[in-house]
Structures are given as structure tokens and as C-alpha cells.
């Protein structure tokens, strides 16, 4: 008989618990759409994904109020996923010394991040001095529309 060392291994494994995390359900549901619908309705539960590590780099969380529009992050983004936007454009009335009232369009610079282009390198969050961008925990980002609302952080 030829040497087949795998046999013992298989026998041993057949009594062990699987190491795979059975995500999102333990058994294949008859209809996946119906399964997810009942999950949203709260009738069924999904097996949670494996927890992400502490330094995980997931979908970017952008805090517009902390950002000052300096544009440093644009300089390090390898994929040009970040663009600078004039935000929010608003009309302000300016009164000069002579008392003339003029209307001006005042803009503040902020950024917009296209998550679909982002490669999650985390350079932007490393360089930002204001702590306005951080790497989040979310990773289930597959989509058909790269300009969908949740695919753009602004």
C-alpha cells in the first residue's frame, strides 16, 4: 500500500469543529433575498463576521466639522480618491468702511472622498493634523453604483 498520510488527518478532522466562521448564516437559506429581508425585519439573525483587528483600515469616516480644507491629504492619496470642494457655497453680505453693502459668495474648502477609488491605505488619516479623517471598521462595501451616497464621504 502506498503511503497516504492524509488519511489519518481526514479522520481526525471529521470529528473536529470547522474553523471557518459561517458567515452570514450557518446553512444556505432557500432564498437569500428572503433571508436578508427577514434579517431586516428582525425575524432572523446573521452570524456576525470575524471581528476586525484594532488597527484595521476600513471605510473612511470623515468629520467635516473638524476639517479645515488644508488639502494635505490630497497630496498623499495614491489613487486621487480625494477631491477638494468649495463647501458650502453661501452668500454673505460684506459691509466695507464706507458703508457700501456688497454681496459675496463665500466658500469654505472641504474634501470629498470617493470610497470606490480608495484603496484603504490610511495615508490620509495618518497625515491629517485635525483628525478629520479616520479609518473605520466597515468593510462590506460592494456596490453596483460607485457614486451612491454611501460611496462618497463628504
Amino acid at each position: 500500500m502506498a503511503k497516504l498520510p492524509m488519511f489519518r488527518e481526514i479522520l481526525g478532522q471529521s470529528v473536529k469543529k470547522p474553523v471557518t466562521n459561517l458567515f452570514p448564516t450557518i446553512r444556505m437559506p432557500k432564498s437569500i433575498t428572503r433571508f436578508f429581508r427577514s434579517v431586516t425585519e428582525g425575524k432572523a439573525e446573521i452570524v456576525p463576521p470575524v471581528a476586525t483587528p484594532p488597527v484595521f483600515r476600513g471605510k473612511i469616516v470623515y468629520d467635516r466639522t473638524a476639517c479645515n480644507g488644508c488639502g494635505l491629504c490630497l497630496k498623499v492619496c495614491p489613487t486621487h480618491a480625494i477631491e477638494q470642494v468649495a463647501y458650502p457655497p453661501m452668500t454673505v453680505t460684506v459691509t466695507d468702511e464706507k458703508g457700501n453693502v456688497t454681496e459675496k459668495l463665500k466658500t469654505e474648502k472641504r474634501i470629498r472622498i470617493y470610497i470606490a477609488s480608495c484603496v484603504f491605505c490610511g495615508q490620509c488619516s495618518d497625515i491629517c493634523t485635525k483628525g478629520a479623517v479616520a479609518m473605520g471598521n466597515e468593510f462590506l462595501l460592494a456596490t453596483e453604483d460607485r457614486f451612491a451616497e454611501e460611496q462618497i464621504a463628504e
Binding site: 497516504l4 498520510p5 474553523v19 483587528p53 494635505l72 484603496v119 484603504f120
Partner: protein, 409 residues
């Protein structure tokens, strides 16, 4: 029956999702035997080098991470080394050690991934699952250090972006101890198995002379007896402090055949070598900074003053990886050229496929580790009769499985 005597031309490729570098292989077969083989590289041009020419090195270093899905640190390390030479940047010692540790974990996971793929090509899927399950240990360690499993993004020009902290030492050591325990088992399962022995011994043989003449690199070259290993030949990062010796098939058997079996031997034993290297690095980890310059603006300023050209090398899991960079007093390099290790090894395909059987193609093609399981779609053209038969990947894999079964009986 005359049609059978005509040599068939079997084009393989050019696109296969499992391939990192899509190529097109053309085989002339007579019956089951390959008479000659040829291939055309360069089927997928992503233009990543061109993209680099409108970006600064700090951006490019993370583009390089995406050249290959398995070699997550190889390309960025080679690129960073090239830029560091031009801009005269000295990498802190601790960063060198972190780089080495990540690079060796990458070797472990890449070799295990390959071992699994090789088993799959032979129809040995149990072993395939086992190898990939074992691989998760290295992936977890990488994830712990860098944050992500696949794209580590840990290299920065002039150092690394993440340090290995004290509390991470323990889980890494545990992971290594686990691999040490498993090593005996892996060795037995891969090298003593009767099926693997009969399918891989003598298949895809590459002689020492040919391996030298074709400038093969990495485990493919070492399996044929070439003692080429950048870590030993031109030490960089922390390899200068370590005593790395190229692994040859002689670690397991007495002679060097340069066949697929020897390539398995080399890769399996390189896993053991990598474990030792990481252990040594952890034990001798110097203290200090991990970046030459904390601020990206500082790195870019250094790049702006840099003028010259350099070659960055790294011994990737598949062999030597080369990045050529030229800079001319600007943030953006004026030239960037990448030569990945598989490119050097692909050239031996025509050689090692010659005389092989059709059913052996998947394992021989995979043996140099382009992770290619023949292909999705193979067209067999009967040139004389003008008929065309389409082989799907399943059929070709089935041929391979059937051969394994025949051998088992």
C-alpha cells in the same frame, strides 16, 4: 484516423483570473504529449508605471502594494529601497527589522498558498484546504501588525508606518510556535505522499545549466541547484545581521533533480527558514525610531532634492523583484520600471512543458508559482481539418484528476 496524427495547437490564456500576470501559452500537442510550447507575456497592461509618473513617491509606494495581491510588501519594499538610495535616506534599524519580519511572514503565507494550489492542481483538495487553513496563521499575524490581511501598506519611504509593539510579540511568537509544531506534519503530508511523489517527481524538470541560462530566480532556480538568494547575496534590511543560506533540495534528499517535487521541497523548507528568521528578528529587535522622517512633507522635500537613478531589489517569495527608479530634482520620478519575479521564471515554461503530458500541464505550469491552474478556456485547433474543440478549465483539470486516479490504482 489521420486527423489524430496532426499536431494540435493548444492556446492557453491570455486571461485567467488566478494569474497575477496574464500570459498566453501556445502548446503544440501530439496526442497527450506536448511537443513544443511557446508563450506571449504582456497580455494585461494596467499602466501602473505610467500612473506612477504623475504621483510622488509617497503615493507610489502604496500603488506598488497593489501590483500583486500576494506579494503585499515585496513591491513596496523594492520601490522604497530604490527611492531611499536616490534620496540618500537611511532607514532606522528597527524599521529594517519590521520590514524583514513582514517580508518573511509574506513568504510563509505565499508558499503555503502555493502549496495549496499545487495540491489542488493534482486533485488533492483535502490538502489544499489544509494548507490554506494553516496559512491563516500567517495572515492573522500580518493583520495584527499592519491592520489588514492582504494589502499591508506598511512600508513608507524611509521606514515603516506601523511598529511592532511589545504586546504583539506574544501572539506572533505563539503563531510561530504553532507553525513549528505543524511543520513536521506539513513535511510529511507534502513530501511523503505517494500521489504527490508519483505526480511530481520528474515532472517539469529544469537542469542547473538551463536554470542559469534562463536567469530563473527564487525557489524555481534554487530547486535546480542555483544558490541564488538576494537575502544572502546582497543583504538588505535586517538580512545582513542574519545568516541566511539559500535553501536547496539537498536539505531533504541527496540529489538535485530540478523537478516539480524539488520545487515543493524548497518551498516547504523555506517556510521553516522564515520561521527561524522571524524568531531571530524578534529576539534581536533594536529599539528606536521606525521612520527616517515622521512628516510626509519632510520625505517629499528630500525627494525634491534627489537626483539620480537606483535599482531596488527584494527577494520575494517567487524570487528577485526589481524596481528601477530615476528622479530628477522633482517630487515626481521621471522613470519607474518594475520587473516582478514571475517574469523571469515564465521563460522556462517552453522548456519544462516540452515532453510533458497534457494532464501534467496544470501542475508544471503552477510549479514555478504563477498560481496558474492552466486556464479558463483552452481551444484545441485541428489545423488540418479546421475543426475547433473547446476545453474548459474543468475539463483540463479533470484530465489531471483522472491521471491521479489512474496512478492510485
Amino acid at each position: 484516423m489521420t486527423a489524430k496524427k496532426v499536431p494540435y495547437i493548444v492556446p492557453v490564456g491570455p486571461i485567467h483570473p488566478a494569474l497575477k500576470e496574464p500570459v498566453h501559452i501556445e502548446l503544440t500537442v501530439s496526442g497527450e504529449e506536448v511537443i513544443s510550447a511557446d508563450f506571449t507575456p504582456g497580455q494585461t497592461h494596467r499602466g501602473i508605471e505610467w500612473m506612477g509618473l504623475s504621483r510622488n513617491p509617497v503615493q507610489i509606494v502604496h500603488l506598488t502594494d497593489r501590483i500583486c495581491g500576494i506579494c503585499g510588501v515585496t513591491h513596496s519594499l523594492a520601490f522604497a529601497r530604490a527611492v531611499e538610495q536616490i534620496a540618500d535616506i537611511t532607514v532606522p534599524e528597527r524599521a529594517d527589522y519590521v520590514r524583514t519580519i513582514i517580508a518573511e511572514f509574506e513568504r510563509i503565507q505565499s508558499h503555503l498558498l502555493w502549496a495549496g494550489v499545487a495540491a489542488h492542481e493534482l486533485g488533492f483538495d483535502t490538502l489544499f484546504y489544509l494548507a490554506w487553513r494553516v496559512r491563516e496563521g500567517a495572515m492573522d499575524a500580518i493583520e495584527l501588525i499592519s491592520g489588514n490581511r492582504v494589502n499591508y501598506d506598511i512600508i513608507q519611504i524611509g521606514g515603516v508606518r506601523r511598529d511592532i509593539t511589545e504586546d504583539q510579540f506574544e501572539p506572533i511568537r505563539r503563531c510561530l510556535a504553532n507553525y513549528k509544531d505543524l511543520f513536521g506534519k506539513l513535511k510529511m503530508l507534502f513530501l511523503e505522499d505517494a500521489v504527490i511523489n508519483s505526480r511530481c517527481k520528474g515532472a517539469g524538470r529544469l537542469s542547473f545549466e538551463k536554470a542559469m541560462a534562463y536567469s530563473t530566480v527564487g525557489p524555481t532556480a534554487r530547486a535546480s541547484g542555483c544558490t541564488a538568494d538576494l537575502r544572502a547575496d546582497y543583504p538588505y534590511a535586517a538580512y545582513g545581521d542574519l545568516n541566511v543560506k539559500p535553501v536547496l533540495p539537498t536539505v531533504y534528499s541527496n540529489d538535485i533533480n530540478g523537478d516539480t517535487y524539488d520545487r515543493i521541497v524548497v518551498r516547504i523548507f523555506e517556510i521553516a527558514q522564515s520561521i527561524e528568521i522571524i524568531e531571530e528578528c524578534l529576539a534581536n529587535m533594536p529599539v528606536g525610531r521606525i521612520l527616517w522622517e515622521e512628516k510626509v512633507a519632510g520625505i517629499l522635500a528630500a525627494c525634491k532634492k534627489a537626483k539620480g537613478e537606483a535599482v531596488g531589489l527584494h527577494e520575494a517569495p517567487r524570487g528577485e523583484c526589481l524596481h528601477y527608479v530615476a528622479m530628477d530634482l522633482a517630487e515626481i520620478p521621471i522613470a519607474w520600471k518594475v520587473k516582478a519575479s514571475s517574469y523571469s521564471n515564465l521563460h522556462v515554461w517552453p522548456l519544462i512543458l516540452k515532453g510533458a503530458q497534457l494532464a501534467d500541464i496544470p501542475i508544471i505550469v503552477a510549479s514555478i508559482d504563477p498560481c496558474l491552474s492552466c486556464t479558463d478556456r483552452v481551444v484545441v485547433t485541428d489545423a488540418a481539418a479546421g475543426r475547433t474543440k473547446i476545453f474548459t478549465k474543468e475539463e483540463l483539470t479533470r484530465l489531471s484528476y483522472e491521471k491521479t486516479r489512474r496512478l492510485m490504482q
